[in-house]
Amino acid sequence: MTWELRVIQEFQITRSAELQSLPAFRDFIESVLKGFPNVEEQVRYDLKLAVDEACTNVILHGYAGMNPGSIILTLQISAQAVRMMITDFGHAFEPNETPMPDVGAGLDGREMGGFGLFIIYQTMDEVDYETTGSCNRLILTKCLEADRTGEALEKPVSSENFEEDLTC
């Protein structure tokens, strides 16, 4: 379920799904959000981190066995929150079924992977995932410091609208 946001401005970038594109996605977030004084440096860092992890998962797993397609990153900015939508055209995945790493494990019990999604959940206030037959969209929302209670997020948007919202 995705919560409606009173969007003030929207920005978008499209890059090929390859690791060389990761700096471009991070630089895009930094350059756009630096123009918004209500988005503090630590918030920008969290957003860059979450997008980097999400795009890495798409590149390494979403497009596995396929020719690399594209990743579309859309930034929606309101007075109270920043929302990032990461759209891809690869394999779908189910974030709720992805096992989380045991961050309390000792060195011997440490797994090498699984931290990407964990970090996304740790840094974002809301994580949603939607998929259609042709594309997938991860929706990450970060409330700004002035509104940590979630008042920025209003009524839910019906998932039935998802397909017509997408430009696949």
């Binding site: 860092y45 000792g106 970090i119």
Partner: protein, 112 residues
């Protein structure tokens, strides 16, 4: 991303500059592994110039930590910037490796 090593009295100091992400973490992994495998198991990772690190960096340092301890040494993290320190803490890495505010303190942590 740039990486270089400097031998000091108590440890080999490996300084990384730039971003450690899925694009660059492989180079970090190889560099640390080569140094540890060359008889330098006591490593200080100077992260003062790392402005971004993702979970790919965590994996690189987890591998380096395991390798160094298998060789009888250890890996100390030095001077991480706030964003890097945050990811180390949130993923529980600060419970399995030592983080110091400066390179000098990280090297001194190995004793004389």
């Amino acid at each position: 991303m740039e990486i270089r090593a400097e031998q000091q009295a108590q440890a080999l100091v490996i300084s990384v500059a730039g971003s450690i992400d899925a694009l660059t973490a492989g180079e970090v992994t190889r560099f640390f592994s080569e140094q540890i495998g060359s008889g330098n198991p006591q490593i200080v990772a100077d992260l003062s110039q790392v402005d971004f690190m993702s979970s790919a960096g965590l994996r690189a340092f987890l591998g380096a930590l395991k390798e160094s301890r298998q060789q009888g040494g250890d890996l100390h993290i030095a001077a991480p910037q706030p964003g890097v320190e945050k990811i180390l803490k949130m993923s529980g890495f600060t419970t399995i490796l030592k983080v110091y505010p400066t390179v000098e303190e990280a090297a001194a942590g190995f004793g004389t």
